[in-house]
């Protein structure tokens, strides 16, 4: 389709406008992190670096980030394994109940987080009979992270087809060898994209975390939640958010670069971060 210069211009302008709207609230966050108002009054009444200084000394925030990273890494690892297995099964085999399995993977993200949260909380405490802890939190996060890996890997498998694997088998490679030398390299960038999204999803999740984390387990979103309501701490939360935004650009950019143009985009389920809510 040949787009006229005008249509391209209009599309570009729309894109710029939407992005501007997307970034205005973030800009407000940045400004507020330097504002003397503790309650984000607009326009900011004055400039201060106090919140940044305080944030830098906040052991609680650092600990919470550490916990969040551990949880997100563990949940991502589990979802990488399970998501890959299930997408291989679904893409390579026809079997009874295939669409049910598909639905099963999607369900944890399609159902509202509060439902997943109270269901898992009830399950852990009454059926499994375990105390909520860091482990229950990781299990819960992994459950809704599987889908991001699943979607990315499934899309890749569809695109690559099975010819290379058949060739490998024909040449005498075993099932393992074929996976290691043929299938896995083809999947690498899809795994990266899916894993990154799973990480992001877990990292900003509040609702399921609320219901499945042990009382002493404080992830970053929970720390933020607690501190927005501690006296004089709200601006420090803004600082942490700004730092996170800046720091997050690095892994996303690296992933983009590694994934390269041929890999396509992280599939939306990424989104599920959404689940975060």
């Amino acid at each position: 389709m040949r787009l006229s210069r005008l249509s391209k211009g209009v599309l570009g302008a729309l894109t710029a406008a939407v992005l501007a709207i997307v970034y205005i609230p973030l800009l407000v966050v940045v400004l507020n992190s330097f504002s003397t108002s503790q309650t984000f009054a607009w326009p900011p009444p004055g400039f201060t670096l106090e919140w940044w200084a305080r944030a830098a000394r906040s052991q609680g925030a650092l600990d919470a980030i550490g916990t969040s990273v551990i949880v997100a890494l563990a949940a991502t690892a589990v979802s990488l394994v399970l998501g890959t297995l299930i997408s291989l099964a679904l893409q390579r085999y026809e079997f009874f109940g295939r669409s049910t399995v598909n639905l099963l993977v999607i369900l944890p993200i399609a159902l509202p987080g509060i439902i997943t949260g109270i269901a898992l909380n009830n399950f852990f405490r009454t059926i499994a009979g375990v105390q909520l802890s860091l482990l229950t939190l990781i299990v819960a996060h992994a459950t809704f992270c599987i889908v991001t890996v699943f979607n990315n890997v499934l899309a890749r498998l569809r695109r690559t087809g099975t010819r290379l694997e058949e060739a490998s088998a024909d040449l005498g490679a075993g099932v393992w060898t074929t996976f290691r030398l043929v299938t896995f390299p083809q999947l690498r960038s899809a795994l990266l994209a899916g894993g990154l999204l799973a990480f992001a999803l877990s990292f900003d999740e509040i609702i399921v975390t609320t219901f499945t984390a042990g009382t002493g387990v404080q992830t970053l979103p929970i720390w933020i939640l607690n501190n927005v309501f501690r006296p004089n701490q709200a601006p420090v939360v803004n600082v942490v958010a700004v730092v996170l935004i800046l720091v997050s650009i690095i892994p996303i950019a690296i992933a983009q670069k590694l994934a390269g143009p041929e890999s396509g985009t992280p599939r939306a389920s990424a989104g599920r971060a959404a689940r975060s809510r």
Binding site: I21, V105, P112, T126, A274
Partner: protein
């Protein structure tokens, strides 16, 4: 590694190669065990709880079968009006997000060069890392009567919508937008340029091409995006309490029942409403292939 191990390994491999069903079983066991045991059992247990009751004195859930919770949820006027409000907000948010996402996704996939494209993907993903609460509070600042929004539109005679349902719709649309852009963008990337060229070679104007070629192909991706915005809005209870004025949504009812009233059975019954709505929605879009596009 000894020769025997290697042989045994080889024979296992050969065995697996011969038996596709077995390979399938090995692939599926762990994930199905996980999802089935953890998630489905948990969900089923929750739904069963909806038919139980709570001892008002001790606060313990009692296994005593009753339809009271279901009847309450189905007949109480508060559940009906809140359900209508929530579904209305969810639909509105979904429509707004799709309308915003279509042009930007099209620009990213079909107009921007590779370098710009990569930058745009990063630009869309970055806001996901600012915490949900931080963004919601930021909108509260922006939409306050003397906030940035009012400040920008007052010169042209506008005013801030204040806190209420419009503010809730704006905030939720904002929060979920990246989740709608990404699947549509991915879907557009899969539409071959050659197809678009063919359309215009056949004399179609760009708008006609978009309508007759792009949109039908994009339909599953749009539906996939809508599942995010719709289901996330349906379950949200935090944004509405920050910018929603005096309004409450379904998520608030579920949360209050379990968090404040300590009444899990009633919360489970209330949770049936969003579950039913989502299931109907998933069933309706299933044949479009959208579920493969999530």
């Amino acid at each position: 590694m000894s020769a025997t191990t290697s042989t045994r390994r080889h024979s296992v491999s050969a065995f697996l190669f011969e038996h596709a069903r077995l390979r399938l079983a090995l692939l599926l066991t762990a994930p199905l065990f996980w999802l089935g045991l953890v998630y489905i059992v948990a969900l089923a247990a929750l739904l069963v709880t909806a038919f139980w009751t709570v001892d008002s004195f001790t606060g313990e859930v009692r296994i005593e079968w009753t339809l009271d919770n279901i009847v309450t949820v189905l007949t109480a006027s508060v559940y009906q009006s809140v359900t209508l409000r929530t579904v209305g907000i969810a639909l509105l948010v979904t429509v707004i997000d799709i309308l915003l996402a279509l042009p930007i996704a099209f620009f990213m996939a079909k107009v921007a060069g590779p370098r710009l494209q990569r930058a745009l993907v990063i630009a869309v993903l970055t806001p996901l890392w600012a915490s949900y609460l931080v963004k919601a509070y930021s909108w509260r600042t922006v939409l306050s009567p003397e906030g940035l929004f009012a400040w920008l539109v007052e010169p042209i005679g506008g005013s801030s919508p204040g806190y209420g349902i419009p503010a809730t719709v704006i905030t939720l649309s904002y929060l979920w937008l990246p989740y709608v852009i990404l699947p549509i963008y991915a879907g557009l990337e899969r539409v071959p340029d050659s197809l678009l060229d063919a359309s215009s070679d056949l004399g179609a104007k760009p708008w006609r091409t978009v309508r007759s070629v792009v949109l039908p192909l994009l339909y599953p991706a749009v539906i996939a995006g809508s599942i995010f915005s719709f289901s996330l809005t349906l379950g949200d209870y935090i944004a509405v309490s920050i910018v929603g004025g005096a309004n409450q949504m379904l998520g608030n009812l579920v949360y209050t029942n379990v968090g404040t009233a300590n009444n899990l059975p009633l919360a489970a019954a209330a949770a049936l409403i969003p579950i039913a709505i989502i299931m109907v929605y998933l069933a309706a879009v299933r044949r479009t292939g959208a579920l493969d596009n999530l």
